[in-house]
């Protein structure tokens, strides 16, 4: 059957995930319903949109379920130590600033054991994109509470309800000096893809806090009916896009997380500062 010329152009080509995956490393380790796979999908589509050569992209992670991502993607990949991904990534980027470095990390990885590296990476504003998979639990070790676990929540180490106030990764990133800070969720996949793309294209430290779900541990412990139920409650109903937030009365925003680009400024980037100031002055002296 022949298709008219103008129609032919509109036929969308299915996205070729295999271009970026390592198919022989699949199946992945993630549980059915885990949000991490959805985030991976958004990440790959965002990378594709950048048009960068695969050889120039590094994906570096710490330890955790989320941090297993690099093993499945066909770039220069590194699975490092719990909490230390940002330091390894800083080394790679600083040694070869031509590389595009994306860090994939869990909320425990980035904000608990790696909290100090997180703060100082943002402060330097080195050109890394940091994707924090925030599932409010330690998935890999079996569902203990994490620095983003909401107060009162059940975890295998908070059987009486968590008494620790959670971190807001975006507030922390902004306060620490990151020049791009955004939030997405696994529920809002297209929006997430756009946000990650914008983060990668940004020069400087770009942090995207991505709310996703761990149905296996957080979900079961907190009596969610299913993975989709979790997505609806935690990701859809509990978040508001920052563009709509202005139109809503304050009571509608209470306790909700804002999505979208929350902070974006131009600021000197670390590797460029080193080259233009440190190297220049050192050579002149």
């Amino acid at each position: 059957m022949s298709v008219p010329a103008e129609k032919k152009e509109k036929v969308s080509v299915p996205f070729d995930y295999n271009k970026y995956l390592r198919p022989n490393k699949l199946p992945h380790i993630w549980c059915p319903g885990c949000g991490h796979g959805i985030v991976l999908k958004a990440m790959l589509r965002a990378i594709d949109k950048t048009g960068f050569d695969k050889n120039d992209i590094c994906v570096i992670s710490g330890i955790g379920c989320s941090s297993r991502t690099p093993g499945y993607v066909d770039f220069n990949t590194m699975h490092t130590l719990h909490g230390r991904a940002l330091s390894f990534a800083t080394g790679v980027k600083f040694a070869n600033p031509k590389l595009k470095v994306i860090v994939v990390t869990g909320d425990g990885d980035a904000l608990a054991i790696g909290g100090n590296h997180f703060i100082h990476t943002c402060r330097r504003n080195i050109d890394l994109t940091v994707l924090v998979f925030t599932n409010a639990t330690y998935g890999m070790t079996g569902g203990q509470y994490s620095p983003t676990t909401p107060m009162g929540s059940q975890a295998t180490t908070s059987r009486y309800g968590s008494i620790e106030p959670p971190f807001d990764a975006c507030e922390m990133a902004k306060a620490s000096g990151a020049s791009f800070v955004a939030r997405g969720t696994a529920y809002h996949t297209l929006e997430l893809e756009k946000t990650i793309h914008e983060a990668i294209m940004h020069k400087g430290t770009s942090v995207v806090d991505i709310i996703d779900a761990c149905p296996t541990y957080f979900g079961r412990a907190n009596k969610f009916k299913s993975a989709t139920h979790m997505m609806e409650v935690i990701e859809k109903d509990n978040t508001v896009n920052v563009k709509q937030a202005d139109k809503l009365p304050p009571e509608k925003l209470e306790g909700k997380f804002l999505r979208g680009v929350l902070h974006k400024i131009e600021k000197p980037e670390y590797c460029e500062q080193y080259e233009s100031i440190v190297m220049e002055k050192a050579k002149a002296k």
């Binding site: 093993g71 990949t77 330091s87």
Partner: protein, 377 residues
Amino acid sequence: MADRKKKFLQGNEACVEGALYAGCKFFAGYPITPSTEVAEGLSVRLPKIGGKFIQMEDEIGGIAAAIGGSLAGLKSMTATSGPGFSLKQECLGYACLAEIPLVIVNVMRGGPSTGYPTGPSQSDIMQAKWGTHGDHPAISVTPAYVQEILTETVRAFNLAERFRTPVVVLYDEIVGHMREPITIPAPGDLEIIDRMRPDCKPEDYLPYDDKYEVAPLAPFGAGYRFHVTGLNHKQDGFPTNDSKQIGANNERIMAKIENHKEEIWKNDELMLDDAEVAVFTIGSTARSARFAVLEARKAGIKAGLIRPLTIWPFPDKAVRELAKRVKAIIVPELNLGQMILEVERVSGATCEVVGVNRVDGEPITPMQILDAIKKYK
């Protein structure tokens, strides 16, 4: 004639010269006494030659960034002391298993804990071998003179690159802060080894190819897209649960060092040929020992000195042979007995093994060693 500058330098400054001579282009670390001058020196020198210097937020960040720098293709180094060396241990193990070349300088100070920051010590000898968890290869070099800090730092880089493994440069505060006249070698005076790079097609590249003892390492970004992990992995770098492959890889990373011990060992000997009593020691303590041995000879005692410049892998062959022909081996060390355990292990019951120890923040004096030697008159 080649240009060989004479300089009057501190040990830590000589370490900077050695690193630059070896081709170091990346340093990441965190300040700590008594190693800080290494970082300070490189912060001035590296940017002049297009190299990278970064002060990280802690020692863990320092070594992790240095591993990243190495994987991106630059010869990389970090430097620290006591507490900082403890913090680096997890990453050191990562570099062993992921087989990333790296030099770690540890200028030993008094411990445990914060201990005696400005006091000398040799109490990290065992930490340099056993500090990180799991079985792993270990190479440590132990210079005793300022000139030697330069040449041993070069050798450390060479060993790291040759064997794709972290190498520890281990010296005590005394040698680190002592000033001595040294000669900066001219280009070509010392051998420089660079890691092997792959020349195969990217699709054929195996970062842990076991057809090599030490497989070529591609830098990130050169077209070889591969995976690096601290999990036990296969030849292609991806994690595995296969016990056969886990065992084989763990044994291979040990064997690549074990099979080349002869190449890695380096001992300095003084009047050992006819010695009846030998002193075995390193670093500043070896300087006292040298004096003691010469004094003992004057008193008619057949004493000698063996001074390993490679403490790990332990120079077991040399010590075993020595033990067969001397009455005693004296092991002075600025700790409560670390190297002596190895000397005892290797010499068995073939000779007496005697420790001379000190942990009060003062150096072991020649007289202390001489007193121990005199018992074998």
